[in-house]
Symmetry: C2
Subunit: 158 residues, 2 copies
DNA sequence: ATTTTAGTTCTGTATACCGAGAACTAAAAA
DNA sequence: TTTTTAGTTCTCGGTATACAGAACTAAAAT
């Protein structure tokens, strides 16, 4: 394993720091978070196992486990370059559209549960039931509108 | 502390179970998650400390800490009833609108960081930069559209 | 004045998670 | 065939979290 630490400017380093923190706040543990951040900031968007390891200064096991975690959750993807043995990894922001869709689906499941709950609630807690219903309505409305909104954006930007 | 366990039907119990799991998946630990779920499913939307404790069958400390956690993160609210000493707690879904706004603001911060990152990226990684830019554009578009969308929903529903 | 209520805070334990380091493995290179 | 590469898996120590139970506290009730 050649030490293939990537050169980073101070600016890039602080950006990785910040982006890492943002990823941590959204639920990742430190190493995966910094890995994602590095793959967004580094000049080359495709980095190898040992570049990631050496640049972040972490152990092989941490690198391996984090990479696999991020592959399984669809946050990064693997690409192989012709004739090269090493795998390269890339931040999967390219697929942000799917991500938004997925978030929305999870929201949908949550709201479905809320609908079931609302159905069996007593009718006398008017204000509470009302709020529940409003939220359900709005989320369902949003889910109907999103495709249209998406189209509007697409046409508006050319 | 009188044992003021609330009566729940089997159906309500399984709904609490499910809603609890949904809350757990969104980042809460078991007790706070079940507490929120109970406060959504129970007939009476306002429950006291000891009702929560007795119904969920948990310790006083767990109850106290969870309540305070949920108060601090704005997931429940406290209400006092005239002449009563005990505090009552209520699930704060009533304020779902603020929640959506907050989620959006967090998204905004994330995207701001991405903008800074994009600015300092080399120009030659065309595809990657393009994706980054697209996502930034879409999120910003969404943030502009949301108020309008909200108005559209409001007028459409009366 | 003392007792009860409605909690909070402290202490202890069990468990989970993180990440390092070393041992291991399968494929490719030499 | 052996050696190197590119990782994976195992073991371990440190730290954080979650919750129970007990001790504590301030206000209210008696």
């Amino acid at each position: 394993m050649t030490k293939s630490k990537i050169k980073l400017t101070d600016n890039q380093k602080t950006l990785i720091e910040k982006m890492g923190m943002a990823y941590e706040q959204s639920g990742f543990s430190p190493v995966p978070a910094r890995l994602l951040a590095l793959l967004m900031v580094a000049e080359d968007p495709d980095l190898t196992f040992d570049q990631l390891q050496a640049t972040l200064g972490i152990s092989k096991s941490a690198t391996s486990n984090s990479i696999n975690l991020l592959l399984n959750t669809g946050k990064i993807e693997q690409i192989s370059k012709l004739g090269e043995r090493k795998r390269y990894f890339r931040n999967r922001i390219v697929h942000w559209k799917e991500d938004i869709k997925k978030t929305n689906e999870r929201m949908g499941l949550f709201v479905d549960l809320m609908k079931t709950i609302l159905k069996q609630r007593p009718g006398d807690t008017v204000e509470f039931n009302q709020s529940l219903k409003e939220m359900i309505d709005f989320v369902e409305f949003l889910q109907r509108e999103l495709p249209l909104l998406y189209k509007k954006w697409e046409t508006g930007r050319k």
